[in-house]
Every structure is written in C-alpha cells, then in structure tokens.
C-alpha cells in the first residue's frame, strides 16, 4: 500500500504544539510526531490514549509479592522448618517480620523490571533495532510532525501546514509502512 505522508518541520516546541492543535481541529490525521525532548502536554494534544503501564506495574508487583510469599513459605516453613536462632518457623505469619524485607524487594524488583521490559516491547525498542528517525535533526533541535495525506488534497494540506508555521514541508511516498 502506497502511503503518502507529509513531513512538516518546526523549530520551536510552542509552535509545534500550536500546529498540532490546529491540524487536529482541521481533521487531519497526525500519524507521528518526532521531538528531541519530551514536550509537556504533547501526548494530550495529539490525542494519544493515556498509558496503562502503571497498571501493569501494579500487577507485576503483586506477582512479585506472591513469588516472595510462596517461595519463603515453601523454603522456610514447609520444606525444612529449622530452628534458626530461635526464630519461630511454625507458621508463615509468626516469622513474617523476617520475610518482609524480601517481600518488599521482590515486589519492587518485579514491578520495576517487568514494567521496563513491557515498555521496551510495547515501544519496540531493543539492541540493534534499526532507528526509525525520518530526519536526524529531530534528535537535536527540530520538531517533525507527520501527517497522513492519502485522502487529502496535497496542495491544500501543504498550504495549511505552511500556515501553521512549518519551516520545511516535504512529501513522502513510500511502499512499506513502519
């Protein structure tokens, strides 16, 4: 499928925010925005749904907690309940204060690491991944907004984007979607 896109480059993040809002209200579809740094409120302006990564992290934390509880209950209480320095190893709750540091750390460990891995998978980030940057300047001091042009009059769209303050506008036609 041939995808036609227009890349509009801006030199200022305020200008970009303005342009994103105008483009959205003119019912053009923004497929991607590239910025060198996080622009506060940009996700909201582009209309990206809120992230659910905090929820996954909470669930991973619960998994970690369960792992810790099951592990220590099995090892210290079920499998070989030794008397170690007089600590009561008859039931889990009697010896729980000694287990809490491990329960806490495993909760944090699972919540943190699994959340990061989730983040990498969802954002498709890994070593040797081919960079998807359309213009190297967007990692330094330029901002790039990518607008779908398939169903629109390119001339009119270009004019529109020019009016939003874009400093460079280029038409991109490529075969593959990334």
């Amino acid at each position: 499928m041939a995808a036609t896109k227009i890349h509009a480059i801006y030199t200022d993040d305020d200008l970009l925010m303005q342009a994103v809002k105008q483009t959205r209200s003119a019912n053009y579809h923004i497929s991607e925005v590239f910025t060198p740094f996080p622009v506060h409120g940009l996700d909201h302006a582009v209309g990206i749904a809120p992230t659910r990564i905090a929820i996954t992290s909470f669930l991973y934390g619960l998994v970690g907690l369960s792992v810790a509880v099951l592990m220590m209950n099995y090892m210290m209480i079920q499998d070989w309940p030794q008397n170690i320095g007089g600590k009561p190893s008859f039931t889990f709750y009697q010896n729980m204060p000694a287990f809490i540091p491990i329960m806490f750390e495993l909760t944090v460990f699972f919540a943190g690491h699994l959340m990061v891995i989730t983040f990498y998978m969802r954002s498709k980030l890994w070593p040797f991944k081919k960079a998807e940057n359309p213009d190297p300047r967007t990692t330094d001091d330029h901002f790039l907004m990518e607008v779908d042009a398939d169903n629109h009059d390119v001339e009119k769209l270009t004019k529109f984007l020019y009016d939003t303050g874009a400093s460079e506008i280029s038409l991109i036609e490529n075969e593959q979607d990334h």
Binding site: A54, N83, P88, P97
Partner: protein, 458 residues
C-alpha cells in the same frame, strides 16, 4: 472570608460540653482506695467468670501470642516481669492491687493526654509543613498558606493543654518522678541527669515557646506581606522557617523522649522520635487536605484546584508509607533481636492490644495505599476524605498505643473517658481552627509564588 458555619459551630460547642462532662466523669469515677479496686476486681471476676482485664495477667492464659511466636511458654511473662518491676510495690497479692489502683487512677489522665496530644500534633505538624513550604520555596503550595495558618491557630491552646497535662501528670505518666522508685533503681539513677523534673519542665517550656513564637511571627510576616509591595516579610519568613525547622527537629526528638519514651524509662529506641514525627506529619497533612476540601466545598477558595488536592493526597500517600517504614523498622529490629529489655514494649502491645496494634497497620498503611495509589482518585474529594478518615483514626490509635500500654497497661478500655476526651478536643479544634480561618482573606496576596501556585498544574 470564611465564617464557621453555624451548624458546625453549634456541633463543636456540643462536643466540647459533652466531652468536658465525660472527662470530669472519668476523673471522678476512678477508684480511690485499694478496697475499691478489690470490689471492681471481684465484680469483674463474677461477670466474666474467666477474667481478663484486671486480674488476667497474673493467672490464666499461660501461652499467648508472643509465647507461641517465640515457641517458648512463659517467655513474655518473664520479659514483662522486668517492666512491672518498675512499680515500687514489687510483687505480691496486696501490691498487685495497689498497682491496679495506680493504673485505674491514671486512665482518665492518659485518655485526656492521648486526645490532647493528637490534636496538638495536627497543628504542630501543619506548622512544620508550612515551614517546609517556605524553606523549600515551594511553588505549588502558597495558595494553601492561609489554610495551614488557620490550622496552626490551634497550636497555642493545644500545646498549653498538653504542657499542663505532662507537667501535672507526675507519677501517673512518669515513674522516674517517683523518688522512692528512683532510689531503688540503678537505671533510673543513671538517667536522672536528664530525667529530672526541673529540667523536664524547662525543656517543655522551651518547646512551647519555640513552636508558638515561630507560629506567631510567621503568621505575622505572612499577613504583613499581603499589604506590602516588597518581599521583605517573605524573606524574613524564609529565614525563620529554616531556623524553626532546625529547632523543631531537635525539640521534636527530645519532646518524644520526654513525653512518651520516659513513660517506660527502662526502654529506649533510637527511631522513636522519627516515628512520632511521621505520625504527626502524615495526620497534619491529612487535616490540611480535609480543611481544603471543606473550604472548596463552600466555594471559598476558587484558586485552589484539584491539582493542589492531588499533591496533598500524594503527601498523604507517601507519608503513610514513610510512617509504616519507620513503624516496621522499629518493630522488626526489636522483634528480630528479641532482647528482653527492649522487647517488653511490644509484648504488652501485642498481648493486650492485639486488635488495635495490628488494626492500626491496616488503617495507616493498607487502606491509604490502596485508596490513594491511583492518580485519578487523588483528585476526587470524597476518595481523599475516605483515605483521610482511615489515616486519622489510625493515627489516633497510634498515639493511643504509645500512651495507654505504658501508663494503664492491662487496665485499658475504650470507654467514656477516652471518647469524651476525643470529643472535647475535636470540638475545641474545630472551633479554634474555624476562628483562625475566619480572621483574614483566604488568599495570601503578594506572596512571590502565589501566581505560580494559582496556575499550578501538571
């Protein structure tokens, strides 16, 4: 401008009257002689058959929670002997009743002190929060300055009452004030350079003066700032806040040793002062959030947004965890090492106050963490109010557990004296804070950060 709603005012006055009556009732109905105690004990014996409160500890239950946990019967009994040895009477049938008499007479004192300190610490904690906002030049909080100042109005009456209680409680609270006891106790003799009444009194006066002077001057500067066109008063406030925080952290530590730790003068814990501070700070922030929600509900503070509420709720959340962290650090270290002179403190709390002791953890940790974890919920007033109620009840229990086991021991009840004291100080708190809030406009004009604070969002 705020005026205390007339219904709330009436409500608080009713609370004060009821509470006062209950407190007086509590003081009047304590047993006067050993014979009274014997009668009470006999009554309880016949009522329960198997007695638990007054006479319970000496006979009966041989294996309790602590023994089970330790796997050694009678361990807690032995460890506690150490603590009960503190009483001058020693052991024996007659002395046991004398001991019970002393604890029963202490009960109304303790009940009043718990509630008095609880409400005072709300004002004091709010004052510390206020000082931190100034010292850190926080950009989000200036819209709350008048609200916090309103809450700290209670500090003066509250701290005077607490001062009077600790000064006049004498041996009801502080066994080291009993000369006979000290004469026969090497540990207390060693500590008497610090734990002696004149020095105790001087320290209490210093705390009172220091805290109230800061409150007086910071409030004054803050009000002067509203009418000037330079930032002189603000700069002054910044400076005195820094010095107050230094002063506070020292006096808070010694205050908690003086007023709470010395109730069990054989016991000590390094973490104790921080632990009380955490309790104070989290409940104070909770009250700030509650008052903010109340004023917001009345439509008096349009410049405070749900973002400010979100931040307060974040503080409530974070400091609930901080409190739990300190609570657990103190508990776990003592539980783990299990040294008899340290562990008595927790044995009595687990044995006699089990439900409160562990219930407090649920109220102070589990509920706030579950209710306030979601960031959307932190902006919903009624969610914050629910969490606030959990936290405040939990920290009242926390103070209750600091005082009661050390002073009345097994002979505790949650009855008329406790409820009355709680009602009395709640009423007083509402009345004084309402008055404090109604004195000036609720918006601190001319504060250098007020503009930023009003437009604060994230």
């Amino acid at each position: 401008m705020y005026t205390l709603p007339s219904k709330l005012k009436l409500f608080s006055i009713v609370l004060i009257v009821l509470g006062l009556a209950g407190i007086i009732f509590g003081f009047l109905t304590t047993p006067k002689t050993i014979d009274d105690v014997k009668k009470i004990m006999a009554e309880q014996e016949s009522l329960h058959g198997d007695s638990h409160a007054v006479a319970g500890n000496e006979e009966g239950e041989t294996a309790n929670f602590v023994d089970e946990a330790r796997g050694q019967e009678g361990y807690s009994e032995n460890a506690m002997k150490h603590a009960t040895d503190l009483k001058p009477e020693g052991h024996g049938a007659a002395s046991h009743e004398e001991h019970v008499l002393h604890q029963l007479q202490t009960r109304p004192w303790s009940a009043t002190f718990v509630a008095a300190f609880f409400f005072m610490m709300l004002a004091l904690g709010a004052l510390v929060f206020y000082a931190i906002q100034y010292a850190s030049q926080a950009g989000w909080s200036p819209v709350l300055y008048r609200i916090i100042e309103g809450i700290t109005t209670y500090l003066l009456p509250g701290s005077i009452i607490v001062f009077l209680i600790v000064v006049f409680a004498g041996t009801h609270f502080y066994p080291w004030q009993d000369h006979e006891l000290v004469a026969g106790d090497k540990i207390l003799q060693e500590k008497s350079t610090y734990l002696n009444f004149p020095f105790f009194l001087i320290r209490a006066v210093i705390y009172l003066l220091g805290w109230n002077l800061y409150r007086y001057f910071s409030r004054k500067n803050s009000l002067v700032q509203a009418d000037t066109n330079n930032y002189g008063p603000y700069r002054k406030n910044f400076k005195i806040s820094v010095f107050f925080l230094i002063f506070f952290i020292v006096t808070e530590a010694t205050m908690s040793w003086d007023w709470f730790m010395s109730m069990t003068p054989h016991w000590y814990s390094t973490l104790f002062a921080w632990y009380i501070f955490a309790s104070m700070f989290v409940s104070a922030i909770t009250v700030i959030a509650l008052v903010t929600i109340h004023l917001k509900g009345l439509g008096l503070i349009p410049f405070v947004s749900d973002k400010h509420l979100h931040d307060l709720a974040k503080y409530m959340f974070a400091f609930s965890i901080f409190w739990t962290y300190l609570w657990f650090s103190q508990f776990m270290l003592i539980w783990y090492a299990n040294i008899p002179e340290e562990v008595t403190y927790f044995i009595i709390r687990i044995q006699e106050y089990k439900l409160l002791f562990f219930g407090m953890l649920i109220l102070n940790f589990v509920f706030p963490i579950l209710v306030l974890m979601n960031s959307d919920y932190k902006r919903i007033p009624w969610f914050v109010v629910i969490a606030a109620v959990f936290i405040l009840v939990g920290h009242y229990i926390d103070i209750f557990l600091l005082v009661m086991p050390s002073t009345v021991g097994h002979n505790w009840h949650f009855g008329i004296p406790e409820i009355a004291a709680l009602l009395f100080f709640l009423g007083l708190f509402i009345l004084v804070v309402g008055k404090g809030l109604s004195k000036v406009s609720l918006k601190p004009e001319n504060d250098p950060f007020i503009k930023e604070s009003e437009n604060y969002h994230f």
